[in-house]
């Protein structure tokens, strides 16, 4: 069963912006899928069409087999949406917000209150249930939107940058939570700017840029294409004294350098050269710019010819 099947989707906004230029995307049921792309790529627009907040221009969209043209209500019932921006009534209490949301999906009030306790507790908000939403911190508001999206117990959760503006501890908590509900069978789609986040959570990934899908593949396959990595080395000697041949490298500061290492080449030669100069490597870390590298690689490819990888891991 396909959770999502999008074909030839285009969206031109009233102001003439062509936000989507013909997107094809398939997400299998049970998948944990990342939609990755820079600002303005069209991630939120895609999600808007899926959740029927944005009307599409062309193309077809099916959600668990329900076309949004002919079976919109059935399609809507399958989705729980956590939007990018806070969109609840700031003056309502948490309990009112989630219970009403369940009501809109036809969940009777008694049942809705039970579920509110369950999900607000899971997201550590039950104590705050009678507070107004405006009194919450940013991270709590995000969690409130997750709880709200779960109230009708949808088969699929779509989260638009759920961890934006959330500190690392709460982010980890959110990741664990999402992983757990994915293991329990919920399909999850999330958008993010962070490759690390996608890498940690997702099995499959789509990269979108300027309204087009650049890559749609498994996380593993994608990371394999990342063949150059940059490492930062902290040295026992001044970095000005270093001599390295055969590698692209830069001085970072007095005692650290940065080396670009191609996968097939390996690092031994770096160590050997430094060793020969009597320089010790005190510590080493991966520079966290892999996403940039990935984008540079991808966008370069796209400039030559738009390309979609069919390969999908399960």
């Amino acid at each position: 069963m396909k959770a999502i099947e999008i074909q030839g989707l285009t969206k031109t906004y009233a102001n003439g912006v062509e936000a989507l230029k013909g997107i094809d995307l398939v997400v299998e049921q049970g998948d944990f899928y990342a939609l990755l792309g820079p600002n303005g790529a069209g991630k939120s627009t895609t999600i808007g069409v899926l959740s029927s907040l944005v009307t599409k221009s062309q193309g077809s969209v099916e959600i668990f087999g329900h076309s949004i043209d002919t079976a919109l209500e059935a399609a809507k019932s399958c989705i729980g949406l956590v939007p990018q921006e806070f969109n609840f009534n700031q003056f309502e209490t948490l309990l009112q917000i989630v219970v009403n949301q369940a009501g809109y999906y036809g969940v009777p009030r008694k049942e809705a209150i039970k579920r509110a306790e369950k999900y607000l507790t899971q997201l550590e908000l039950w104590d705050k249930r009678n507070h107004r939403a405006r009194e919450l911190s940013g991270g709590m508001k995000r969690r409130l939107m997750i709880a709200r999206a779960l109230m009708h117990e949808p088969q699929m959760l779509i989260l638009d940058e759920p961890t934006a503006g959330v500190d690392i501890e709460i982010r980890r908590g959110m990741w664990d939570f999402l992983r757990t509900i994915n293991q329990q069978g919920k399909t999850i789609i999330l958008t993010t700017h962070y490759l690390e986040e996608a890498e940690l959570l997702c099995r499959n990934i789509g990269i979108i840029n300027k309204g087009q899908i650049v890559t749609n593949t498994s996380m593993k396959a994608l990371l394999a294409t990342l063949n150059v990595e940059t490492f930062v080395l902290d040295l026992s000697a001044p970095s000005a004294d270093v001599q390295l041949t055969d590698f692209d490298w830069r001085v970072v500061n007095d005692s650290s350098i940065e080396v670009d290492v191609a996968k097939e080449k390996g690092m031994n030669s770096v160590f050997a050269q430094l060793d020969a100069q009597g320089i010790q490597v005190l510590s080493m870390r991966n520079k966290a710019n892999r996403l940039e590298e990935l984008f540079v690689a991808m966008m370069g490819e796209q400039a030559n010819q738009p390309k979609t990888t069919e390969e999908q891991g399960a």
Partner: protein
Amino acid sequence: MSASVNYIALKSIVRKECTRFLRIWVQTLVPPAITTTLYFVIFGGLIGSRVGEMGGVSYMDYIVPGLIMMSVITSSYSNVASSFFSAKFQRNIEELLVAPVPNYIIVLGYVIGGMCRGLLVGCVVTLVAFLFSDLHFHHVGILVVVILLTAMLFALGGMFNALFAKTFDDVSIIPTFVLTPLTYLGGVFYSISLLPEVWQWVSKLNPIVYMVNTFRYGFLGISDIPVAPSIAMLIAMTIVLFMVILNMLKRGVGIRS
């Protein structure tokens, strides 16, 4: 969607709407009570005693039905206009748009919410009126039908306004520049039969004249205008506006990009 699902959705919207205006009751329920009390004291009491009779009853008795109607109109209209617009503005309307709620349920939910406020305010004003005049009910059936239809029509009007509105100014412009003048010229304070013939004709283009007169008939048994056609007109206008709004929602006007 099945009927019970829709019914639960409708109840949720109405409950949310009622919670909203009750939460801010100082803004929503108190002002109309104060304003109409002032009207009663000034127009009915001080000035009315010099006016004498109008339409065969005391001036106070004459203006009471119109004042009740005026408060119902304003409250129903502004409730939906401001609630729906702020839902658009804060984007919490998306809570409804992502859910499988049919458009007519959304409209009905907001409209019933607006009617609840309008009718509650109407009751408050009626109670105040009992202090100032000896009201009696000539035809309760007509009163109920007319007030329900009027509240509904203006709640729909508020929704129409909110759909078009882009700023908070847009939801106060129509009440100020259209609704208030039409109400004041709607025969609340005078019988249109007192006007020169031309102005009588002009007045008859104002729908509020029909509502006020029909409502007054329910209390006093007097009207400048035949009652049955007025009610038919009210029903027709309500249905047309409902259809127009449904059509706008279907096309996503003002709510979907």
